[in-house]
Symmetry: C2
Subunit: 201 residues, 2 copies
DNA sequence: TTTTTTATTAATCATTTGTTTAATTCAATT
DNA sequence: AATTGAATTAAACAAATGATTAATAAAAAA
């Protein structure tokens, strides 16, 4: 299934990913990529046929990584709901701090490439162990009965949106990037607590 | 202060806004705009000097509208904190349902045009009546003491992020656009309740 | 070593894109 | 009616861009 990439291909992909993440598809030129990866311009088409195709490969891989990080935790058999919340919050915030352009890239380029890429999602989240555990809690009468989509949406919203709106937050609070990250580290602990308060009766 | 725009200028601006919102700055060409607005290509530069300048005008106005909607409610003298939450939630969701591309556009193009546009924000939110009311609640011991930035961020996250991630939600739940909107109408009521539960001791 | 295949390069092509020019039409002013 | 300035147009320009070609170098197979 997985393709083996040569050194040159990896160089191209690495540079392309970095540029696509930072500037988006349209604002990134093939010459940008060739320069950044230090390969000849023609090699891009030689290996990846077109800019579009190259982008699709990167988009797919990136989105897959983005979702996997969540799905793995959501489907862990041993952990409780609360532990899953803590782990998701922590892992996601760590991941995005390392690659701050990730969420904007994903949500932004997603609206143009919907169905084919979004197939990855099928059932992975709405039929996860986490949602089961939430539904169990509802049956037991400890959690409120609302559509689990709200539960799942809220988790992601509280984790991801602050990164997407980081320019606004940084301006409002006169934060440095470091201070902003500290705010996000704080949220690692806070978000699971908030989510629990939201669902508890 | 406010410039009077001629018919032609309005036609250009309307078309340009629609296209910029949908496809972003780089993916929108001046010929797209000229076609969509049914004006001669040269008129774009005649009235707005350059694509860049035109974009900046639209970006500024759009961001201003986006923020004003919030700021007006946040600074209302008569309403309680709870009423402000309900009104914000309701007005924002209504606004974005009408213009679904708005949030993605704002957050996405914002990272390229930071300081000059973000000046609008200065103090408008963090020194608002809403934040005062939150701080009062903290002093009275009814709300938890956390940095109000979290409070403000959470409101916006729960309202706006679902729209940004609508392709994901729609795919996960096999929603139609109509069903998705109904989910968002549901959230009008839910979000203020959630926020209160998050801050209450 | 020779041959064949693969990888890399510089140059070039055909479009696209933002912008400008010069001519023309339209509207207001004298 | 004649004149002036603004608005509009078609055509063109120069630069940028995605992609291809034909030649060369390197590696693998014979």
């Amino acid at each position: 299934m997985k393709k083996e990439y040569s050194d040159t291909e990896i160089k191209i992909k690495t540079a392309a990913k970095s540029l696509f993440l930072e500037k988006g598809y349209s604002a990134t030129t093939t010459r940008d990529i060739s320069k950044e990866s230090d390969i000849n311009l023609a090699l891009l088409n030689y290996y990846f046929t077109s800019k579009k195709k190259l982008f699709e490969i990167i988009m797919l891989e990136t989105f897959y990584d983005f979702i996997s990080k969540m799905v793995e935790v959501y489907n862990d058999e041993k952990s409780t709901l609360e532990e899953k919340l803590r782990l998701t919050s922590s892992k996601y915030i760590d991941m995005i701090i390392v690659e701050p352009h990730l969420p904007t890239f994903v949500v932004n380029e997603l609206k143009n490439n919907p169905s084919s890429i979004l197939k990855i999602l099928k059932g992975q989240i709405m039929e996860s162990k986490l949602v089961d555990q939430y539904n169990d809690g509802v049956k037991k009468g400890i959690y409120k009965r609302i559509d689990p989509i709200h539960f799942v949406t809220n988790i992601l919203s509280l984790i991801v949106f602050p990164f997407i709106s980081s320019p606004i937050i940084i301006k409002m609070k006169k934060f440095s990037r470091k201070e902003f990250n500290e705010m996000m580290y704080e949220r690692k602990k806070l978000i699971p607590e908030w989510i629990l308060q939201m669902i508890k009766k």
